[in-house]
Structure formats: C-alpha cells, structure tokens
Amino acid sequence: MTAVIEARGLRKLYHTSPALEDVSFTVGSGRIVGLIGPNGAGKTTALKAILGLTHFQGELRVLGLDPRSRRDELMRDVSFIADVAVLPRWLRVSQALDLVEGVHTRFNRARATEFLRRTDIRMRSRVRELSKGMVTQLHLALTLAIDARLLVLDEPTLGLDLLYRRQFYDTLLNDYFDKERTILVTTHQVEEIENLFTDVLFIKHGRVVLDSSVESLADRYLQVTVTPDNVTRAQAFLPFYEREVFGRVVMIFEGRTAAELAPLGELRTPSIADLFVAKMEKAA
C-alpha cells in the first residue's frame, strides 16, 4: 500500500489549548478514510495541516510532499471541499468553469458540464441565486472533474437535506472513486456514510483514539446485547463500553473472541456509529 498521507507526532496549539496532540496516522492509496470526532476534536485542524493551511509541529508528508513548504505543488494533486458555503457568492456557474479550467491543468470541463447538465443548475446563474443543495452540486461538479489523487472533504454535506446528502455520496462513489484515488472525509453524520469508509480515524481532544480499517474492526470489536442474567458474567470480560437499551444491556468488547462472548447474548459487529459513541464516551 502506497502511503498518500503520513503523519508523525502532529502538534498544534491554538493560543494555549491543544488542537492536535501527538497525532500519528497513515492513509494508503485507494482508501476512503473517515476522520470522525465531535466538535472541537481537531478534525478540521488535522485537515488544514494536511492541506498546508495552518502551522503545526511534527512530520507530515502528503503525496510525498511537506504541505508547509510545497503547498502550491501539492494542490495540483489534491482537491478539497471545505464546506458547502465557500463558493464565492458573486461567481456565475459559467465563470466557475472558466476559472477552474484556467488555473487547473487537470480539470476536465466537459466532465463538469456533463455533470451539471444532469442538475437544474443554469450556466448564467450566480452562486447566490442557487439553493444550498445546488451550490454543493456545483462544487462537486468542479471537484469531481479534477483528476486529483487525494480528495479532502470537510463536512461536505453539512446543512443539506437527506436527498442531497445521499446524492452527494452516490456521485462520489460512482463517478469519482477508484483504486488510484484516496478520499479523506470528516463528517458528523456517521450513520449515513459508514458503509462508504474503508478506514476510520476517531479523534478526540486532539488525539487519535481509533485508527483502523473497517474490515479489521470486526476482528477487534464485538458488541453483545447481554441478557439480564448474564450481565455480571459479561462484565468480567471487561467491556470498554456499556449502555442500557430497553431494559437490556449492550456491551462492546475489544480483543475478545466470538467464542468467549457468544454465550452471553446476541452477538454482532458494532456499527461505526456505535463504536464512535463508545470511544468518545470512554475517552471523555
């Protein structure tokens, strides 16, 4: 696996409070990585570091380049959508195409135009005249038409309705993603897109609390809906998280085998959303 991002010991202070503390991770080529954490956890700071938009300490290589010193070069191979509200409101759709075509050698105008043809967006419209969902479609059309190796998305569907959110990720998967490309995405709506991820990185208080491929999560974590008479027995296996749901206790275990836990209740692999909640509450 070729590393697209290699971070070692990233640190970043905002005034006196740490935004990133000794953050290390590796993102391989052809992966879709979810960088997940609550508000203020350091997700956006980590993305800004990757994009060379902020100062930080530590070692970071993105596509083999240090984003601090070689940002301009790096941005030829990296695209990003910060959030839906950053397209200039005065920009016309046709101007947006002219603009990206003018400055980006890897922009395929025909592809963006074709994508826009499938929407209700008109070429003469200004961004301020478009709905939030349409602005996202426009931004996505511009971004997906760039032949980039790394796509960074920071809460790209924040504030959109379900229809647009679903459409956004469907387009991303069907029209864009392939094994040559890597996507790094932060989101709050974990449940909706957890099937999209190949890897997850949970971040809390500026620290990585989980870094795993989705396929190995099943080997590491098990969730048991424990029957009432087995609660004490189950607790002996040291669950790292437990909660009560409709009178039954749900426990999540790390490093236990299915054979050990099966007698305690109903067994399944925890969803990423469940794991996220468990990890966040544990790290609190």
Binding site: H55, A82, V86, P88, L91, L99, G102, T105, H139
Partner: protein
C-alpha cells in the same frame, strides 16, 4: 522562394490567446486577472459609466460656447482654438481619474479582505494557485490594468466627445470653440500618458499599503487606513510636537512633480486671451523635464517598498489562519 509577409492584425489576437492558453502560468495569471473583474464589477462599470455621462454631457452642451463679443476675435483664433482643444482633452480625463482613484481604493482594500470575510478563501486555496501569484494578479490589476484601461477609456471618451461637439457645431452652423489639432492631440495624450506612468510608480506604495491592510487586518480595513493614520498624526503633533508622518504623506503626495519642473512649465505656457490666460498643454509637454523624475531615488525606493508589501501580503495570505 517565399517572401516574408506581415502578420495580419486580425491574426495577432488569436496568436496572443494561443500563447496564453499554452502557457499554464500565463493562463492562470490571465484567469486570476479576469476573476478580479468578475468579482469587482465597479472596476469596469465605473469608468464606462463616467464615459457614458460625459458623452451625454456632450449632447447637452456644445462647442459653440457663448463668446464675449468684445474679445470674440481672439477666441476664434485657430491657435487659441487648438489650445482650448488640448485643454478640453485634458479636462475630460479628470472625472475618469478621480473615479479611478476612488474605485481603486475600495478595490484594493477589499481584494484580500472579502475572501476571508465570506470564507471563500477556502475555495481559492483549493485551487493550485500560489499566494504570490494571487497577490501579484491583484496588484497588477491595481497598478497596470485599471490605470491603463482608464487611460484608454478616457482617450476614447476624448475622441467621441470631440466628434459629437464637432458634429453639433456643423449641424448648428455655430462657430466652434475648439479645433482639432493632431499635434496638440498627440502632445496632450503623450503628456497625460507620461503623467500616468509617473503617477503609477510614485503612488505605488499606497497600493502596497492597501493590499497589506486588506490581507492582514481582521476587520474594518477602511477605518484602519484612514482614521488610524489621522490619529497618529494628531498624537505625534500633540505629544512630540513633530509632524514626520504628515510630512512623509505630503511628500508622497506631490513630491515628484517638482522634478518635472511642472510649475515653471505651466507658467511658461500661459497664453493671454482677452482678459484671461490659458495654459497650453502641448507647450507644457515641450517644457517639462522627464529625466529627473525617473532618476529620483525615492521613486524607485517606493517601487521597492511596494514589492515588499506585495511579498508581505502574500505571506500573510499564506499563513493567516482565521477561517
């Protein structure tokens, strides 16, 4: 044997376009300059509006002005008509340049501030365009495109205005106050062009300061570049009894024009007409000293300072993290 042929004029524009299109850096720069005119429409709407208003003015006024019967003979002298023609050419440019100064001030203060204010900087920074190139495009617009564009628009206004006046004088069979004089026209345009080049170089530091303010200030850049210097001047005067800043600003305001010997040139060009005295712009052109202006070290230090401001603005844009 083939003989070399001149490239037809019509072929030059596509050649330039092809050259820009095939050079990625030039193409990016060209796109960034176009972007400024999309975003800041006042840059082209304002000069065209001034032109429109002046041309409407030409329709409402006329060249056959009321002439005092006691000295009408002198006013109708072809030489005086030529001087008046040159003066009219010069006078018509004044509204253009006043509006340009106003528009440029607001543009330069806004050009790097607006993108931070509405967070669109995150979109701009998602494109493979360096901060240096972005700032360079904005300064190029402020120092080259808009001033020379204004010069061209003012020139076209001059020509159209004169044509409208001439036509109206012919149609009304009235005596014209101005008379087309090609030499006077060329000398007037040359003097104004020269004045424009010297103005751009001399006043460039103001452009630099405005760009740095736009890139660096968190809020209200207009207040910072107007009220704050004023307060410093007052504070300096009250506390130390000195006036270094006001002197510096005054020198940067008109310090270069003495080098051209402009005042003696104007006085020397005055021509008496009846009870009035009018300055002959072609004569001023013959009398000004251009060399000393370009050998004034302060002019080039100002240019260096402007370049340093551009560099500082690019660094501020690069490392500013307030999104």
């Amino acid at each position: 044997m083939s003989t070399p042929t001149a490239i037809p004029t019509t072929a030059r524009a596509p050649a330039l376009k092809t050259w820009i299109a095939t050079n990625p850096h030039l193409r990016a720069f060209h796109t960034l300059v176009r972007r400024e005119f999309w975003e800041h429409r006042s840059l082209w709407v304002a000069p065209l509006s001034v032109m429109g208003l002046l041309l409407i003015g030409a329709l409402w006024t006329h060249g056959a002005m009321q002439i005092d019967p006691t000295d009408s003979g002198e006013w109708l002298d072809p030489q005086i008509k030529s001087i008046l023609f040159a003066l009219a050419q010069w006078g018509l440019t004044i509204p253009h340049y006043l509006v340009m100064i106003l528009v440029l001030n607001f543009y330069l203060l806004d050009c790097l501030y607006a993108e931070r204010k509405d967070r669109s900087i995150l979109f701009w920074k998602s494109l493979p365009v360096g901060d240096g190139l972005t700032v360079a495009a904005k300064m190029f617009v402020g120092l080259v495109v808009v001033p020379f564009g204004t010069y061209v628009i003012a020139l076209v206004t001059d020509l159209l205005f004169t044509a409208i006046w001439d036509l109206r004088a012919v149609l009304s069979h009235a005596p014209e106050l101005v008379l087309w004089d090609t030499v006077a026209f060329l000398k007037t345009q040359a003097l104004m062009f020269l004045g424009l080049v010297i103005s751009i170089l001399w006043y460039a530091p103001f452009v630099g300061i405005l760009v740095v303010a736009s890139a660096g200030l968190r809020r209200n850049p207009l207040m910072w570049v107007t009220v704050v210097p004023l307060l410093i001047i007052i504070f300096e005067r009250v506390t130390f009894g000195t006036h270094h800043l006001s002197s510096l600003l005054a020198y940067r305001g008109d310090g270069i024009w003495g080098d051209l010997h402009l005042e003696p040139a104007v006085i020397g060009s005055l021509t008496g007409v009846g009870r009035a005295a009018i300055a002959s712009i072609p004569s001023i052109y013959d009398r000004v000293h251009v060399g000393p202006a370009f050998t004034n070290i302060d002019l080039w230090l100002g240019v260096l300072f402007t370049a340093a401001c551009g560099f500082a603005a690019a660094r501020l844009r690069r490392y500013r993290d307030d999104t």
